[in-house]
Amino acid sequence: MLSDYNFIGIFVAVAIIFPFVALGLAWLLRPKKSNPVKTQTYECGLETIGDTWVRFRAQYYVYALVFVVFDIEAAFLFPWAVGYNKVGLWALLEAFLFLGILTVGLVYAWRKGALKWQ
């Protein structure tokens, strides 16, 4: 029902205002003495060596990729789960087929070492 989302809209508006109010209050109350030493980047008390860019392991990306696939699978399963009780027994087999194909994918990724943190 669209009118349900009136409340959500008002909630989002108020929830956005609240942290701004808190931060604004802090801005009023806090000292603002900035100096170059304070704004240095923190690196365990020493000077920064090198640029900010770090060596990015490709493994992070593989985890995110596997997550995308399973997230979309879960997105398909949500309406299935809601309507599940009202359909016959064949829905069970079809769902098993769906889940089975994706389990094969998970096992493949596992065996090929894509889930191993190197």
Binding site: I10, L29, Y42, V54, Y63, N85, L89
Partner: protein, 404 residues
């Protein structure tokens, strides 16, 4: 008799009386709705902030008592208003922004962490009917899951906006942890949805004849572990670990922005407690008490959520921290297959035909409980066999022999 009835239905009566007053002043119906909505939003936000004020000192005192020390007791009331003292301190600290950091991104991250945590309160059920819930969306539980997904984005923005190598590195690791534990969480929610046949939060509570914690304990346990990981609580709290990444992606934050991250964490914990109690502990139901005295339902919800939070604090005080590769390995290689099998079991059990429609939840519940216990036993057997195989591995034997 009338007075008792009034008190038993207190919240509904107050709502009706207020609506009547507003209508009596000549406010049009849409105005009444708007004002009622705004007041509802403010009340829910107060509940959310109350979570911080109640649970911050509770956490420190409970963990302290578990470690046989008194905990914070300088503030009045045996340390009960410690959170207020912390808030006053945070408000007056200087906000140091690193030199080359992007100011807009630096400010955006705490907002993006705090707003979703507060937004979950819009769909949490505090009592029966449509009065004691923010808004009973048709997609209630999916709303909660989607809001949790925004938190992942906020972590990356915090890590990148700080212009700090360690901040970025920690943000990557936390994001991977959050992503890894989101799938088992969603899969275990799906099992609950299969049994409850609806996504709306009130529907899930109302359809729980037996609390789902009894029907499917494995699902509840998986959800609890994943919720712990999503909330970055110990034993999976890589950012709060001082020996890990030196406070992780929130290194460069100070003052109120730093406080925002922790406010968001406690609000999130409270929300997770209520979500867990809604899904698995029966929400605002308590063995029929909610029919006798509907006024008590918010208190029932609060105590169930407090129990779950106590469990989380207990875990924090007891378990050691888990290494990052063990963490993601546990999620992908153990929890995801386990929750997939659990989902298939749930799908099979619900389709078992029962003659008497009244006995359906009981029969399905009993069979699902038996199936869960069988799943636990089978998992233990498989884990034992795998452990024996690893212990007998030749490489490990050589290492152990060399160290002797």
């Amino acid at each position: 008799m009338d007075v008792i009835n009034f008190i038993l239905n207190l919240w509904v009566e107050i709502g009706d009386w207020f609506g009547g007053v507003l209508a009596g002043w000549g406010v049009p119906p849409w105005g009444v709705n708007l004002i009622a909505d705004i007041i509802g939003v403010l009340i829910l936000l107060v509940f959310g902030i109350m979570a911080v004020i109640v649970f911050t000192p509770m956490e420190r005192k409970v963990i302290a008592r578990m470690q046989d020390r008194p905990g914070p007791n300088r503030t009045p009331g045996y340390g009960a208003i410690q959170a207020v003292a912390d808030a006053i301190k945070m408000l007056t600290k200087e906000d140091v922004i690193p030199r080359n950091a992007d100011k807009i991104l630096h400010m955006l991250a705490p907002l993006l962490v705090a707003i979703p945590a507060l937004l979950i309160f819009a769909v949490l059920p505090w009592g029966p009917g449509s009065g004691l819930i923010g808004q009973d969306l048709n997609v209630g539980i999916l709303f909660v899951v989607a809001i949790s997904a925004i938190h992942v984005l906020a972590v990356i923005i915090a890590g990148w906006g700080s212009n700090n190598k360690y901040s970025l590195l920690s943000a990557f690791r936390v994001v991977n942890q959050l992503l890894a534990y989101e799938i088992p969480m969603v899969l275990s929610i799906l099992v609950v949805v299969i049994f409850a046949e609806t996504l709306s939060m009130q529907g899930i509570v109302e359809n729980q004849v037996i609390p789902y914690f009894v029907v499917m304990p494995v699902t509840a346990l998986i959800f609890l572990i994943c919720a712990l990981a999503e909330a970055n609580r110990s034993p999976v709290d890589l950012i709060e670990a001082d020996s890990e990444m030196v406070a992780g992606y929130i290194i460069e934050y100070s003052g109120m922005k730093f406080a925002m991250f922790f406010i968001a964490e406690y609000v999130n914990m409270f929300a997770v407690g209520i979500v867990f109690s809604t899904l698995f502990l029966g929400g605002w139901k308590f063995f029929g008490l909610e029919n006798l005295a509907p006024v008590l339902t918010p208190i029932i919800v609060f105590f169930k959520a407090a129990f779950v939070i106590f469990l989380m604090l207990w875990f924090r005080a007891t378990f050691p921290r888990i290494r990052f590769d063990h963490l993601v390995g546990f999620a992908w290689k153990f929890l995801v297959p386990l929750s997939l099998i659990n989902l298939m079991l749930g799908a099979v059990v619900v389709k078992i035909p029962v003659d008497d429609p009244m006995m359906v939840p009981w029969v399905h519940g009993a069979i699902m409980l038996v199936a869960n216990i069988a799943l636990v036993i089978v998992t233990m057997i498989i884990l034992n066999r795998t452990a024996k195989r690893v212990e007998g591995a030749p490489a490990l034997k050589r290492i152990v022999a060399a160290e002797r």
